[in-house]
Each structure stands twice: as structure tokens, then as C-alpha cells.
Amino acid sequence: MRISNVAVIAGVGATDFSKNSGRSELRLAAEAVTAALRDAGISPAEVDGFCTFVMDNNAENELQRAVGAGPLTFFSRIHYGGGGGCGAVQQAVLAVAAGIANVVVCYRAMNERSEYRFGGPTAGAPTSEGVVAAYHALHGLQTAGAKMAISMRRYMHETGARPEDFANVSLAARRHAAVNPAAFFYKKPITLDDYMNSKMIADPLRLLDCCQESDGGVAIVVTRRDHPAVSQRQAVSILAAAQGMAPGTFSLMNYYRDDISPRDEVALMARQLYEQSGLSARDMQVGIIYDHFGPAVLPSLEACGFCEPGEAKDFVKHRNVEIGGTLPINTHGGQLGEAYIHGMNGIVEAVRQVRGESVNQVANVHNVLVTSGSGVPTSGLILGKL
């Protein structure tokens, strides 16, 4: 059974993105889910599946109760945090393709900025992951930034990438965000001087390399191609949906495999996207490339085949990944510029690009590739016209 082009995204919805939502995570989830259902023209009573990914605190049954969803025949949650957003959509595709459910809503709603702050040191329990984290925390390696920094420093050593190259990702994100009213950094682009002067968080990662922390919710409605609500104008086809966990992948502590940069898991995932869809990197007009850290976009571009290994530092020069370049990426401003809803707001931007409704609309969009978090077990999508 192939899963390409059997399911569509019929609707998307989002709350405002802020530093303090002033309301519960469940309310954010309910707002985003009902907004997405209104966008799809489908009533909550028809929803028979929910998918999310971990660290979301909104249990599927609570969301069912809040929005008046119907009896649920599918409920699923993907592991590995930010690597899991597209994986949640894959789950929905699998359920719809197998006839297990008809209308599956994928969601993420979190007061990450006002209640949790993922940027800080993490404490743990003696789970299989917790003891590995503690083994590294013993030496003061405790934050996502510091863990990614070790991988990106090696990437710099192997490819010759310099901070000025990483800056191109941040500059592009902030240029795109500057014209996006939904972006936290709306009207606030940055310069190369701003980037080079921004404070060092974990060498080589600077403040302007790091995604925001945000409160907000996003939801995506997945259903069958032939659902009566599916319209040519609204619906976007899911041409491919994949996960990837290469051997030796941890949650950011990928130090024990040959290539310690955040690349192997993305390459494994991207190979499947192209195999499922019959497309290649050349067929993509837009990339939504996960920017928990701007520098990680470089190995992701290589892993997705947009350029050769080691050459992303050149690919991102001369505004090549901005509107007007050969591959505009993160046209909403990304997680550096718009908000950090763990990749879900990026999936929504991909939907807008296919629909022709982005604030930074690229001409003649047929296919958009989306990646979830790299350096962790990951996932991705290719979305396209119906």
C-alpha cells in the first residue's frame, strides 16, 4: 500500500503566537483545532482521530472533550519532541490510508515560553533516555544549544563553514519575518553586524542562531482525498510523509556515530520522501527547513539533496534561500523569526505556499518539502497541489 497522494490537508488553524498566551494549553489546542476545522469546513463531531507529538501536555481525550469531537478510532503520539511534527501528520496519513479513521487532526499547543522554556538545563528521571542525558550532564552538557553546538563545531571543521555562512540563514529568516504580521519579529529584520555582535550562547551558536521560545497552538486537519469537504482551492495533497532515525541517533547527543552533524537522520527521512513521491530535490520550489538552530539548516539542506555535502555554506550565500533565490526557505520567517511551535507553524506555511496564500508567496509552487527537528529522530513531508 503506497501512501503518496491518498490523504490531504483539508484545513489549518493557529492561535496568535506570543511570549505569554494568558490561557491554558488546552484552550490553545481547542482554539487551533476548531480554527483548522472551520478552515476545512468539517465539524468537530466528524473528527475520529487525533495525533500529536511528545512534550505536548494536551491529552487526546481532553481535546475530544473540549471541542466535542466524535468517537475516536485513532489516537497516536510521536516521540522525540521537535523531530515529531511531520511524524504526527504521517500517522494521520497512515490512519486515513488504512481506513482506520476519516478525519484526523494533528495538533501542538504549548505555553513553552511562559511555562517551560526549553532552552534551559533539563532534569531527568532514570529512563533509558534520562540516564544517557545524565551521563552527559555530569560534565555540564545540559542544554539543547550546547549539545547542538558540539555537532555544529565539528561540521564547521569538516566543511569550512564559518559564522558568516550561518548568518545567512538568520538574515533570511528575519527578512521573511519582517513582512509577516504573525511573526514575533514583524518589521524587525537584522543585519550581519547584528548577527556577529549577538551574544554567544554555546560556541559556535549565538543568540541569533537560536529559535525563539513561544506560546501558541497549531492544528492541521488530515482527511481522505475524496472527503466531500475537500475543495480544489483549500486542500493540499500529502505527496510523501516519512520518519528517520539513523543508527547512533540520540536526542542531540549524536556524538558516537561517524558523522556527528545533524544530517544522517534527515538524509534517511528525505530518501523516503523522494521514493514515495517519485520527486527529487529539483522539483521543490520552497523548503521549510527546521530551524531550531539556524546553523543546522546547512546540513539539512545537504541531507535533502538541495546541494552536495559540505556545500551548503555556498548554497546559502547571495540570498539564494530567500524570496528571489533558487530555493526560498522558511518564508514565514521560520522558528527564528515567526514563532517556535515545534515545526507545526512551518507545516502551515507550506500549506499556504501550495495554496498561493503566503505573505512571501513564491511563484508557481507545485511542491514544498518540510523537515522536522534534526539532530533528533526526525520526520518530514512533501506537500503539493491536489
Binding site: 532552552g119 534551559g120 538545563p121 531527568g124 528521571a125 532514570p126 534520562g130 540516564v131 544517557v132 542525558a133 545524565a134 551521563y135 552527559h136 550532564a137 555530569l138 560534565h139 555540564g140 552538557l141 545540559q142 542544554t143 544549544g145 550546547a146 553546538a149 558540539i150 555537532s151 563545531r153 565539528r154 571543521h157 551574544k199 554567544m200 550562547i201 554555546a202 560556541d203 559556535p204 547527543m253 556524538y255 558516537y256 556527528i260
Partner: protein
């Protein structure tokens, strides 16, 4: 009243306990598969190469070559002062290991630098850190 800070033993389990016991004995231990001889790090209950559950331990000399590094600046780290330098080292025994490093030295020559370990104790937690060889 006891004014000494409580020890903060690392979160551990049966798979990792050997390592922390080793540190308290001033031994840097890694697992070796008793069946096929393969070394592994981080610790695991089973050998991925041959699926054996039989484990023995190798005491590493603590000498190796720096593979990568970072310097942590923000946010504050409980138990450490910042900036705090951390290296990923390829030990001569053939496994990679994370450790703090006392002085990073010239950043341009850190990757590829030879290092060795010195033992530490802080707040009753036994550990080690790397130092660049002169």
C-alpha cells in the same frame, strides 16, 4: 545543622552504575562485549554487534584526541561556572567520550589536540575532566 551541600549523584540505573562506581575509584571504565570484544559507549545493556548480554569492562587511560568542543555561556548551569568548556574526545581505546576541559586553550588548535584526564570531586560528586597535553 549539617551545612554541607547534599551530594547530587547523577541519575543512573543498573546499566550505568558501573561507570559512576568506577569514577569514585578513579577508574575510567567503558563496557566491552565479553563475546565479541567490541567496546561501546555510551553504556548499553546489550552488544549491538552480536546481541550478547555478557559484559566486561576496560579501564581507559583517559588519553585521546579532541574531536569537537563547545563553550557554554548561557544560561547559568547549576554546579558549574560559566563560560564552561566541554570537549568530545576520541579516546585511544577507540570510543568517544564527553568531558569538561579545564582550559580550552587556542580554539584554532583544539580539534586534533591531544588530551589526558585529571580526577575531580565537586559537591561530593566524583568525576573527571580533560586537560590539553603540553
Amino acid at each position: 545543622m549539617n551545612a554541607i551541600a547534599k551530594p547530587r549523584p547523577p541519575i543512573s540505573n543498573r546499566d550505568f552504575d558501573f561507570f559512576y562506581r568506577g569514577l569514585s575509584e578513579r577508574r575510567l571504565l567503558v563496557q566491552k562485549c565479553w563475546e565479541c570484544g567490541r567496546l561501546r559507549n555510551p553504556p548499553s545493556p546489550m552488544c549491538a554487534a552480536c546481541c550478547s548480554l555478557a559484559i566486561e569492562y576496560v579501564e581507559c587511560k583517559g588519553e585521546g584526541t579532541v574531536y569537537s568542543y563547545t563553550v557554554h555561556h548561557h544560561p547559568a548551569l547549576p554546579g558549574f561556572s560559566t563560560p564552561h568548556s566541554i570537549v568530545l574526545v576520541e579516546l585511544d581505546e577507540g570510543v568517544r567520550m564527553i568531558g569538561a576541559i579545564a582550559e580550552l586553550g587556542d580554539p584554532a588548535s583544539v580539534i586534533g589536540a591531544r588530551v589526558s584526564i585529571e580526577w575531580t570531586r565537586s559537591d561530593d560528586v566524583d568525576s573527571f575532566r580533560f586537560v590539553r597535553n603540553v
